[in-house]
């Protein structure tokens, strides 16, 4: 009989290897799933993982990698801090949308003023908007003890409806011939976030790089990082160490909301270009996987965001070339998360063979 025995200290080496094993297992089982549904598994896996990097049109897809990884990285970095402390902000998608709306609203309010200050103000508005949206579940949790998972999630659906209302109403392009959606922010030089479009680089990429370093230092060396880690691992010990949980809830929710919100503004003033009914492509949810795939560590998340970006682009190619539905990539991403979570057990526990009847 096989039993699990808790390790005294988590196996550090294994925690680096397990994400790789999870990716391999996902390819194998994902391929089996495609085969079961009558699609060529080799072609599907090749299209998703190989084509964007080394295929015929990789010159086009490679910059896309950075474009997709940027918002995932920004959002996941913030979420990971909360997850480490046991604060579950699941509504990053909503904070991302509201940040985009606030940033775009500020930028459009100054249209057609030609000054780079507009961009700075819009970025700040995106940060504030996302953070405030995240403060709703944080406030309700602290004041009334409501569950932040459910509230932040419900607010995603509220934000999606708000987005539709904005795209059709107040933020609609007055010169848009009645089509829904705002003015194109990339054509408004003062609000444009692109740095080098042919490389896929916009200011969000710069912000994400800064965030990786800041959070790396914060989590490793700052007392706040220590408090976050100790709260997640042992809430009781955290209380003895003088951690005030309220402060952590506010900090983690506000920080993750701020990062998601600013990611939203960079997206609408760059790759997406405008506020439209469906500019958000589920980055807020995928970022949760990115956070776990990266083991809630800033450097891990950096790598994970590119891998997940790869599945996004691969998924789009598979949609066009193999006729897979757009949502199929979610099955793939869900599976990846299954394997990561399942394999996690081996970093905290070891397998032990026990013979029955022998005490």
């Amino acid at each position: 009989m096989i039993r699990l025995e808790r390790r005294a200290v988590p196996a550090a080496k294994l925690s680096y290897v397990t994400p790789v094993i999870a990716v391999v297992l996902t390819m194998v089982f994902g391929g089996a799933l495609f085969a079961a549904l009558g699609k060529d598994p080799i072609a599907a896996i090749r299209t998703i993982f190989y084509e964007p990097l080394f295929g015929e049109f990789s010159f086009y897809y490679r910059p896309q990698l950075l474009v997709k990884a940027t918002p995932l990285l920004l959002i996941a970095l913030g979420l990971a801090m909360g997850f480490r402390a046991g604060i579950w902000n699941i509504g990053a998608e909503g904070q991302y949308i509201v940040g985009a709306i606030c940033g775009a609203a500020v930028a459009l309010a100054f249209y057609p003023l030609d000054s780079r200050i507009v961009f700075v103000l819009a970025v700040l508005a995106g940060m504030v908007g996302g953070a405030l949206w995240a403060m709703i579940p944080a406030f309700l949790k602290l004041r009334f003890g409501t569950n932040e998972i459910l509230v932040s999630l419900m607010l995603v659906y509220v934000a999606e409806n708000l987005l539709a209302a904005m795209a059709l109403g107040p933020l609609k392009n007055p010169e848009g011939l009645g089509f829904p959606g705002s003015r194109n922010l990339t054509q408004y030089e003062a609000a444009n976030s692109w740095i080098a479009q042919d490389l896929g680089l916009h200011w969000g990429g710069v912000a994400a790089a800064v965030a990786v370093v800041v959070i790396f230092v914060l989590m490793g060396w700052h007392v706040l990082g220590f408090q976050i880690r100790v709260s997640g691992e042992s809430p009781r010990a955290a209380r003895f160490a003088g951690v005030r949980p309220q402060v952590l809830v506010v900090f983690c929710m506000a920080a993750s909301g701020m990062l998601a919100g600013v990611a939203g503004y960079f997206e609408v003033s760059g790759p997406s270009g405008q506020i439209s009914i469906d500019f958000n492509s589920g980055y807020g949810f995928t970022a949760i996987i990115v956070a776990f795939l990266g083991r809630l560590h800033p450097i891990g998340i950096l790598l994970a965001s590119f891998l997940m970006a790869l599945t996004y682009i691969g998924g789009e190619i598979a949609q066009n070339q193999l006729g897979l539905p757009a949502a199929a990539i979610q099955a793939f991403q869900g599976m990846l998360l299954f394997f990561i979570l399942g394999l996690d057990v081996f970093t905290n526990y070891r397998l032990k063979l026990i013979q029955r009847g022998v005490a």
Partner: protein, 310 residues
């Protein structure tokens, strides 16, 4: 008699039908949470049930077979969650989210060739003369079988949890898994079975959407119903009777919102569509305000990993 241009009898009857998907999903999740497991994958199990039920109904022509398939399909899907959280001791919150993502993707893949087809109708149960009783007849005796299945499930869960030995064991496992283990109950096995029951219920709820409410398969058609079911369990403070109340309340809000839209209210549609979610938050606040976790009747071991050291 008409109130605001809406016949109240018709409204109550349609409310019972509209609430059935979230009622089924919520009562299943209630049992899961009673055993101390928080499965956030309800949305994924519902949508998988919706597609399984639709496919089997289209292939066999029988909605009854469709509902059975939905229950089986979603129970199998929930087994992934059960194994990961109970055997591999994975984090329940993250695994539940993964289940939702996986379910949404898998259902889209499975249902790809069924988009745009129309499912056969699911006739109401024939109660003979009972259906002709004024007021009571149209409200109680003019529904399809699943409405009654859902109601019987609620009554059954209530009775089992309250009066039976099985209910006592389920509650013991959820309140204190270490104590239950020390008493010799198979905590892991009981939880896995409860999770599968929850999966089957959510699957039937999802199939009710595709087979009765919409008569079509649409990608992502559950649109947050699974999350509302989770909220209802909290709203009900883990009591079966209040789950029924909660489900009807949310069904009512959704219906009212649709009626207002149809009546041509010149208020932008999007703000009305927000209302069920906002009201969910409001209710959560009202239920949680000024109470401690114990007073809410949350199972003591809810969401905690169980690892038997001996």
């Amino acid at each position: 008699m008409m109130v605001f241009g809406i016949d109240p009898i018709v409204l109550i009857a349609s409310l019972m039908a509209a609430s059935t998907p979230i009622l089924l999903a919520a009562i299943g999740e209630l049992v899961v949470e009673k055993t101390g497991v928080l499965n956030l994958g309800v949305e994924g199990m519902m949508i998988t049930g919706a597609v399984c039920g639709f496919i089997v109904t289209m292939e066999t022509g029988s909605p009854g077979a469709g509902f059975v398939a939905a229950a089986v399909g979603s129970a199998l899907l929930s087994l992934i969650f059960a194994v990961l959280t109970q055997v591999f001791l994975a984090n329940q919150v993250a695994t539940g989210l993964a289940l939702t993502l996986f379910g949404l993707g898998l259902s889209a893949l499975m249902g790809q060739s069924y988009v745009g087809l129309k499912s056969p109708s699911f006739p109401a149960v024939n109660f003979g003369p009972l259906a002709d009783i004024p007021v009571v007849g149209p409200i109680l005796f003019n529904h399809d079988p699943m409405v009654y299945v859902a109601l019987f499930t609620v009554v059954g869960v209530w009775a089992v949890l309250r009066y039976s030995r099985l209910g006592l064991i389920l509650r013991a496992v959820g309140e204190n898994h270490d104590a239950a283990h020390a008493l010799g109950y198979k905590v892991v096995r009981i939880r896995i079975l409860a999770i599968m029951f929850g999966g089957a219920c959510a699957g039937m709820g999802g199939a009710y959407l595709s087979l009765v409410r919409v008569h079509q398969w649409v990608e992502g058609m559950t649109a947050g119903a699974g999350w509302i079911a989770l909220a209802i369990v909290v709203f009900a403070s883990w009591r079966a009777g209040r789950v029924l109340l909660g489900a009807y309340l949310f069904g009512g809000v959704t219906l009212l919102q649709l009626n207002l839209q149809a009546a041509g209210s010149n208020f932008p549609v999007q703000y009305l569509s927000m209302s069920p979610y906002l009201i969910t938050i409001l209710v959560l606040v009202l239920m949680s305000a000024g109470r401690r976790r114990n007073a809410l009747h949350a199972p003591g071991s809810l969401g905690r990993v169980f690892h038997a050291s001996s």
